[in-house]
């Protein structure tokens, strides 16, 4: 199982390396969005920075993850499932997408800081929040993209299926991020971190239970 996961992640890395332009297009999309948003807002307000940052990360994540299941053909997928355990396929996608999303949100942070200001006061907490955000987004987007891949007009469907599901996570992430920006002081932010981890575990567990029903045709 672990070997399979490792091999699958390597396969995804290799595929993305060979098709560099597809990942590069996501990064370009990210840069364009940030550029537009910065020009449109023209503000150094940390509260606004926080909102803009998470909106950009959310939309870029949805675009980046959409590649994972939606852009694979049905036959390609069936082929993977015959080669490896489907759960291993799902797990590898979770891990790989978490990495990609973490890197993308770091790039978003770098670009936004470059163009505006760096309002982050608690660096450790902020990057932990980024990582937790990447994990949660990766789980929800990956699983809903595997749901959406069964239907037509997949990209719109991915957004309407996953954005409402992400809201509980987003509430907590925004709160933690505000904390790390020094916008609010909350002594019990460890609970928020635990809640995020608990939501992630819950969703991973349920998706493992449900995934076999999705891919069998």
């Amino acid at each position: 199982m672990l070997k399979e996961i490792k091999a699958l992640i390597q396969k995804d890395l290799l595929l993305d390396w060979r098709q560099r332009f597809s990942l590069a297009s996501v990064i370009l999309y990210l840069a364009c969005t940030i550029f537009i948003v910065v020009i449109a807002t023209q503000s150094n307000n940390p509260g606004l920075w926080n909102a803009v940052f998470w909106i950009v990360v959310l939309f870029v994540s949805s675009n980046a993850v959409a590649k994972s299941f939606i852009q694979e053909s049905d036959r390609q997928r069936i082929y993977y499932y015959t080669l490896a355990n489907p759960i291993a396929v799902l797990t590898s996608k979770y891990i790989y997408n978490t990495l990609i999303l973490f890197v993308l949100s770091m790039i978003a942070f770098g670009l936004l800081t470059f163009f505006t200001i760096n309002p982050v006061r608690l660096n450790g907490l902020f990057f932990l929040t980024l990582f937790l955000g990447a994990t949660g987004f990766s789980i929800v987007f990956t699983f809903t993209s595997s749901i959406a891949s069964a239907a037509s007009n997949r990209n719109t469907l991915l957004a309407i299926l996953s954005f409402p599901l992400l809201l509980p996570m987003l509430f907590t992430l925004l709160k933690l991020s505000q904390q790390s920006l020094g916008l609010i002081t909350d002594t019990s932010y460890e609970t928020d971190i635990l809640i995020l981890v608990a939501i992630d575990l819950l969703l991973v567990g349920v998706s493992f239970l449900l995934f076999p029903y999705l891919w069998k045709d």
Binding site: F143, L157, T172, I195, L214
Partner: protein
């Protein structure tokens, strides 16, 4: 699922009972307004008390006290009744307060031989110029509030600001309870369908329950918004529970869009069932965890949500619980009609 028709009568009966009794039972007599709200030590003050649902003129022996947090109290010299809703309580405020603070809030307590005791918390703020806690404690007495009358009539609690709108508890809150249970039932049938993909009826049941859940969610939001218009001042206040309901509705509307986006019937049912279960699990933190983390304008919130002792007293429970059961039964019935219709459609299409 449930045979026979008797349960439908039970549901309708409970709803009618909750509507009639919930509307007709009066609120408990209480104090609406106390003026003036500030006084100084050594003064003689006339507190003008406006009551709600009271019958002050019906009794000659009304007593009034001012009391602080520790139970130090002073009895009013005399109480003059003006009419059923208004009276004037005359107090001699002693020269010192039993506290070392400059300004102390005092609670007004009225005892009416028929209406029972009424309390207006922090009704008067008394300012003292010279502070002496020891002398204050000799002037104010403990344990002089006695022989309070208990109002045994069947009434609902009368809370400031909320007042008559407390009756919304019987319509708005049960709809929300019923909605969660009905979405739960949809998950149950989704799981059943995943286990037996051949039985299209299970899929139809999940669809039926989900659509009724959406209906109840909309009704719950509307009844809540109407109530909020009067109590919070606007229909929508971005309260965390309002956001949660809106998100739940978005998620389940997406369920129907997903269904319509898949052409193959087998695949549609299976994928929709998977999404239904996944969505419910993602909703659980939203319904049960997030509202506890954030401040809400909802009664009983700002620390402990749910049904606190202040939100519900025994008289309200006697209508509230039947109303919950009633709405759940109505929901089952609606879903039942809906999925039977879907079954018939399916059979006609596949003949």
């Amino acid at each position: 699922m449930i045979d026979g028709w008797y349960w439908k009568f039970i549901g309708v009966g409970l709803i009618i009972y909750s509507m009639i009794v919930g509307m007709l039972v009066p609120l408990k007599p209480s104090i609406e307004l106390v003026a003036p709200s500030a006084a100084k030590t050594g003064q003689q003050i006339n507190l003008e008390v406006t009551g709600y649902n009271t019958n002050y003129s019906g009794s000659a022996s009304i007593r009034a006290w001012l009391k602080d947090e520790e139970g130090n109290a002073v009895l009013s010299k005399n109480v003059t009744v003006i009419n059923a809703q208004n009276l004037v309580a005359n107090f001699d405020i002693p020269g010192f307060l039993p506290s070392s603070d400059r300004v102390v809030p005092f609670t007004l307590i009225l005892d009416h031989p028929v209406d029972g005791a009424m309390v207006s918390p922090d009704a008067v703020f008394i300012t003292q110029d010279s502070i002496s806690k020891v002398e204050g404690q000799t002037l104010w007495q403990k344990d002089i509030i006695n022989d309070l009358t208990l109002n045994t009539a069947f009434t609902f609690p009368s809370m400031s600001l909320i007042r008559e709108t407390i009756r919304n508890t019987f319509y708005h809150v049960p709809l929300w309870f019923a909605m969660v249970i009905i979405f739960g039932a949809a998950v149950y049938w989704s799981i059943k369908y995943l286990r037996n993909p051949q039985s299209y009826q299970y899929d139809n049941r999940a669809v039926g329950f989900t659509s009724v859940g959406i209906l109840f969610g909309i009704l719950g939001t509307v009844t809540g918004a109407l109530w909020a218009r009067f109590v919070w001042g606007s229909y929508w206040s971005w309260d965390i529970k309002q956001i949660v309901t809106a998100v739940a509705l978005l998620i389940y509307m997406a369920y129907f869009i997903l269904r319509n986006a898949i052409e193959d019937d087998d695949r549609k049912g299976r994928v929709a069932a998977v999404y239904n279960i996944f969505a419910f699990v993602a909703l659980i933190p939203l319904i049960f965890v997030v509202p506890r983390m954030m401040d809400s304008l909802h009664p009983g919130n700002g620390g402990n949500p749910g049904l606190g002792a202040n939100d519900l007293d025994n008289s309200m429970r006697m209508i509230f619980y039947p109303a919950i059961i009633g709405w759940i039964i109505i929901g089952l019935w609606l879903a039942n009609v809906r999925y039977r219709l879907l079954d018939i459609k399916y059979n006609l299409m596949n003949k």
